[in-house]
C-alpha cells in the first residue's frame, strides 16, 4: 500500500477572466520524492504552484497535507506548513544586498533586537556555498546577472527548512554547471525526506533529477507516472499531443558578399580585442562560460555597453553605436535575457509591447495607424501561438513562456537585418521552441544575420552555422561545422588544452 502522501491535490479548478487555467486537477506528491511538473506554456503549472503557495485560492477542489484537509489563505499559511517556493518571476528587491534579500523578514538578531549583520552575511555565505557560487552576500541585487539573481532566489527558498520545496523553472537562466550544483542540493533535500516539485522545460533535466513526472495540458491533468516508465518522446507526446520531429532545421550556409557586420579590435572593460564577421544568412553562436563576455559583446553591438576601442562596420560602413536607437536605425534587433527588467513593460498590453520598437513602421505623420498595428501584432501573436485572451491583455497576466514569446514577437516583426538574441528560448516549451527555431532560421534564410547567445549548448550548436567561444573577454576559438561539438566548445571555454 502507498504511504499517505505528503500532499494531495484534489480536483482543483481555477479560472481567470477569459482563461480557464486549471480544470479538475488531481495528483499526489510523496515525501522524499522529486516530482517533475511539465506542460506547454500556459498549461497551468505556475497557477497550480501559486495555489500551493497560498497566493491564489482555487475556485473549487481541495488540498490534503499528510492526510489532513488544509486551506491555504495566504503565503504565510503555506510557509507555516513548511512549503517554500521559488517563483518563476523574480521577486528580489534590487536596492538591497543579496543577504538582506535572502533573509528578508527572518534576519538574525543580536541580543538587543537589532539586525545581526555579521550573522546575516555569514548565514547567507553558507547557503551560497552549498551552491558553490562566488556571489558576494553584500553585493547589491541590482548589480547581479540574471543567472545570479536566479541563484539568489533559490538560496532564499532554501533558507527555510522546507518539507516541500517548489521550484518553478529554477534552471531556465542557469548554465549546466550551475544546474549540476542545484541538483546536488536537491539530492540532499531528498535524502532528508523533503519533497521537491520541479518545473522545467528542459526534459533532460527532468529525467536526470525526478522520480515522478506529472503532465498538464491546457489546464488538465494528463498523467502522473514514475519517470522510469517514461521516455522523452512519450512525455513530449503527452505534453504537446503529437509527435515532434526535426527539432533543429537544417544548417545554413553564409550567403557571401559584403559581411553584414564586421567588428575589428573591439575592446571595453569586459572585452578584449574582438574580431568577428557576420554574413547574411548566417547564424553565429557565441559560447563560453557564464560571465566571460558573450552577453557584454552582444550588448556592445546594440549600443548598450560602451565600446572603448575598435570599430564596428555594418554593410561595410563604419557605424557608431551609442544608444540602442543608433543600432536600430542600422537594422539591428536585440533580445535581452532579462525580460522583466529590459524586455517588457509588464503593465501594458501585448499589442503595445509588440508595437513599441516598430512604431515608426506603424505610423504616418507621427500618428499611429491602428489598423496596421493591430493586423501585424495579431498576426505574429498567432504565428507564435502566444496564449492570451486577446492582444490587449496586460503582459503581466501571461504565463512566463508566453511573456517570452511576446518579447520575441516584438523583435521578429521589426524586419531586422541583424538579430542579436540572448537566451531567446528562456522558459519556452519544447513544442514552441521548434517553431521559434524555424522562424529564426527563416529570417536568416531570407538574408538576415543572427548573433545568438545561449546557455543551452545543444540549442546553440543545433542552430549555429559557426560558433565563437569566448574566454575572459576574448575569442578563444572559432568552430565551424563538424568541429563544433559540446566537447570542443567546453575545452575552448575552459582553456584546458591551452
Amino acid at each position: 500500500m502507498m504511504p499517505t502522501p505528503l500532499l494531495s491535490i484534489e480536483n482543483i479548478s481555477k479560472s481567470f477572466p477569459g482563461v480557464r487555467a486549471l480544470m479538475d486537477v488531481s495528483f499526489a506528491v510523496q515525501a522524499g520524492e522529486v516530482h517533475a511538473l511539465v506542460g506547454e506554456n500556459g498549461a497551468g503549472k505556475s497557477t497550480l504552484m501559486k495555489i500551493l503557495a497560498g497566493v491564489y485560492q482555487p475556485d473549487s477542489g481541495g488540498l490534503h497535507w499528510q492526510g489532513q484537509s488544509i486551506q491555504l489563505r495566504s503565503p504565510a499559511d503555506s510557509q507555516r506548513l513548511g512549503i517554500s517556493i521559488i517563483y518563476q518571476e523574480f521577486n528580489l528587491l534590487p536596492d538591497l544586498t543579496v543577504a538582506e534579500n535572502v533573509l528578508l523578514n527572518r534576519e538574525p538578531r543580536t541580543r538587543l533586537g537589532l539586525v545581526d549583520w555579521r550573522a546575516l552575511n555569514e548565514r547567507t555565505r553558507q547557503l551560497l556555498h552549498d551552491l558553490e557560487t562566488d556571489i558576494d552576500p553584500q553585493a547589491l541585487v541590482q548589480d547581479l546577472s540574471v543567472a545570479q539573481q536566479q541563484i539568489v532566489e533559490i538560496v532564499k527558498a532554501l533558507a527555510i527548512d522546507a518539507r516541500l520545496l517548489i521550484m518553478d523553472e529554477p534552471t531556465a537562466a542557469l548554465n549546466p554547471t550551475e544546474v549540476g550544483h542545484l541538483f546536488g542540493v536537491i539530492e540532499r533535500l531528498k535524502a532528508r525526506g523533503s519533497a521537491v516539485i520541479f518545473i522545467s522545460h528542459r526534459l533532460d533535466e527532468v529525467f536526470t533529477i525526478s522520480d515522478t513526472v506529472t503532465v498538464l495540458k491546457d489546464g488538465q491533468h494528463i498523467s502522473t507516472s514514475p519517470a522510469a516508465d517514461l521516455t522523452r518522446e512519450e512525455v513530449v507526446r503527452r505534453m504537446v499531443g503529437r509527435q515532434l520531429q526535426d527539432i533543429f532545421p537544417p544548417r545554413l550556409q553564409a550567403q557571401g558578399g559584403t559581411p553584414l557586420l564586421e567588428v575589428h579590435g573591439l575592446s571595453n572593460d569586459r572585452l578584449r580585442d574582438i574580431n568577428l564577421q557576420l554574413q547574411a544568412g548566417e547564424i553565429l553562436g557565441l559560447a563560453g562560460l557564464e560571465g566571460h563576455g558573450q552577453r557584454e559583446l552582444a550588448r556592445a553591438l546594440f549600443g548598450i555597453e560602451p565600446i572603448h576601442r575598435g570599430t564596428v562596420q555594418i554593410d561595410g560602413q563604419r557605424v557608431y553605436l551609442r544608444h540602442p536607437e543608433d543600432a536600430m536605425r542600422q537594422g539591428v534587433a536585440f533580445l535581452s535575457d532579462d525580460r522583466k527588467m529590459e524586455g517588457l513593460a509588464l503593465t501594458l498590453g501585448v499589442r503595445e509591447n509588440v508595437a513599441l520598437p516598430n512604431l515608426n513602421r506603424f505610423s504616418r505623420f507621427m500618428m499611429v495607424q491602428h489598423e496596421d498595428e493591430r493586423a501585424v501584432c495579431g498576426q505574429i501573436v498567432e504565428t507564435m501561438a502566444v496564449k492570451t485572451p486577446g492582444i490587449e491583455q496586460p503582459v503581466r497576466l501571461l504565463s512566463g513562456g508566453n511573456q517570452q514569446k511576446t518579447v520575441l514577437s516584438k523583435w521578429l516583426i521589426s524586419q531586422p537585418r541583424i538579430l542579436i538574441f540572448v537566451e531567446p528560448t528562456r522558459g519556452i516549451d519544447v513544442g514552441a521552441k521548434v517553431e521559434i527555431y524555424r522562424l529564426i532560421h527563416q529570417l536568416a534564410h531570407d538574408g538576415a544575420g543572427v548573433l545568438m547567445v545561449s546557455s543551452d549548448l545543444l540549442e546553440l550548436l543545433g542552430l549555429s552555422s559557426r560558433v565563437l567561444v569566448l574566454r575572459e573577454g576574448a575569442i578563444a576559438a572559432e568552430l565551424a561545422g563538424a568541429a563544433a561539438t559540446e566537447e570542443s566548445v567546453m575545452l575552448a571555454a575552459t582553456g584546458v588544452h591551452g
Partner: protein
C-alpha cells in the same frame, strides 16, 4: 454568512465582466459627489451652477492635463503653481487693459512657460536631477521671478476681449472657457493616445529601461513632456487671469496640489505608465464639486482646508489600493 459572501463574490465577478468595470472609478466618484451636493445644497446642483464649475475649473484643468502628461512618463512637475502665477502677473501687467497687446503677450507668456518646462526637462534629463527636486527648485525660482516682476503687488488688468475667454459665454449658455478646455483636451487626448509620442511616453512610464532598449529616445520624449507641462501651466495662468481680471500671487499651492490630485484621482498613478485626459478632467470636476460641497456646508476656511486635504488623501489612497489588488 457563506451565502452572503458568495453572493457578493458573484456580484463582484459580474461587475468585473460587465462593461461597467471599464468605466474609470473617478466618473462614479464625480456622480456621487454631484448627488451629495444636490443633497446638502439643492441650489448649487442646478445645471447653471454646474456649468459654472466647468468655467471655474478650466484653468486647473489645463494645468492638470500638463501634469498628467509628465506623470504618465513617471515624472512629476512641482513648478506648475509658480508658472501659473508668473503667467498670471505678467499677462495682467504687460497687457494693462490694452486690447491690442493681448495676442503678442499671450504668445510671449506661453513661450516663457514652455521655456520653464524646457529648463525642468534639461535638469531632469541631462543633469539627472530627480524630478521632485528639479521642479521643486524651479518652483522657487519662478515664484521669485514673479515676485520680482510684480514688485510684490500685481498691477494691471485684463481687457474685455481677453476676459471673455475666461468668464464669458458663447450663445449665452456655453462658457467660453469650456470651449478652450475642450479644444486643449482634444489636442492632448490626440497626443497621448493617437501619436507615436504618446505611445513612447506611456512606455517610458511603464518601463523606462525596456523603452530605451526598444529604441525610444527616452531623453527627447521626457524633455518634451516637461515642455508640454510648462506650456499648459502658463496657459492655465492665462485662463485664470482672464477669469479673474487681475493678477494674483496667491494661488500657487492650489494649482500644484490640485493638478496632482486631479491626475491621480483621474487614474494616473505616481509610477506612471498610464493616464487619460478624460480621467484628469473628471478629477478636476470632482475637486470643483467637492469645493462647492464644502462651501455649502459653511465650514470655516480652516475646516474646509482640512476636509479638502483629507478627502484628497483618501481618494488617492483608495486608488492606490484598487490598483495593487
Amino acid at each position: 454568512m457563506t451565502t452572503a459572501t458568495s453572493i457578493t463574490a458573484r456580484l463582484i465577478e459580474q461587475y468585473r465582466r460587465s462593461p461597467l468595470s471599464r468605466v474609470q472609478p473617478v466618473f462614479f466618484a464625480l456622480v456621487g459627489m454631484v448627488i451629495l451636493l444636490a443633497i446638502v445644497s439643492p441650489r448649487s446642483a442646478e445645471p447653471s451652477n454646474l456649468i459654472n464649475m466647468v468655467r471655474q475649473g478650466g484653468p486647473l484643468a489645463l494645468v492638470a492635463i500638463g501634469q498628467t502628461v509628465v506623470m504618465i512618463s513617471g515624472g512629476l512637475d512641482l513648478s506648475v503653481g509658480s508658472v501659473v502665477i508668473l503667467a498670471d502677473v505678467m499677462a495682467a501687467q504687460m497687457i494693462s487693459g490694452d486690447e491690442s497687446k493681448v495676442i503678442p503677450v499671450v504668445l510671449l507668456v506661453l513661450a516663457i512657460g514652455a521655456l520653464v518646462g524646457l529648463a525642468n526637462g534639461v535638469l531632469v534629463v541631462l543633469l539627472r536631477v530627480t524630478p521632485f527636486i528639479a521642479t521643486l527648485g524651479m518652483n522657487f525660482i519662478v515664484y521669485g521671478a514673479a515676485l520680482l516682476y510684480s514688485g510684490g503687488a500685481p498691477r494691471g488688468d485684463i481687457p474685455p476681449n481677453m476676459r471673455f475667454w475666461g468668464n464669458g459665454f458663447i450663445a449665452e449658455v456655453i462658457p467660453a472657457a469650456a470651449v478652450v478646455l475642450l479644444i486643449v483636451a482634444l489636442i492632448a487626448w490626440f497626443l497621448i493616445s493617437r501619436t507615436v509620442f504618446g505611445r513612447r511616453l506611456t512606455a517610458i512610464g511603464a518601463n523606462r529601461r525596456a523603452a530605451y532598449l526598444s529604441g525610444v529616445s527616452v531623453r527627447r520624449v521626457t524633455l518634451l513632456a516637461y515642455v508640454f507641462s510648462g506650456l499648459m501651466a502658463s496657459a492655465g495662468g492665462l485662463l485664470l487671469v482672464a477669469f479673474v481680471g487681475v493678477g494674483t500671487l496667491e494661488v500657487g499651492t492650489d494649482f500644484l496640489l490640485g493638478s496632482i490630485a486631479a491626475s491621480v484621482i483621474g487614474g494616473t498613478p505616481f509610477e506612471g505608465g498610464k493616464g487619460t485626459v478624460a480621467g484628469t478632467i473628471a478629477g478636476v470636476l470632482f475637486l470643483m464639486v467637492l469645493y462647492s460641497v464644502l462651501t455649502a456646508l459653511a465650514l470655516p476656511v480652516s475646516g474646509r482646508r482640512i476636509a479638502e486635504g483629507v478627502i484628497i488623501l483618501v481618494a488617492v489612497a483608495l486608488y492606490a489600493r484598487g490598483r495593487s489588488g
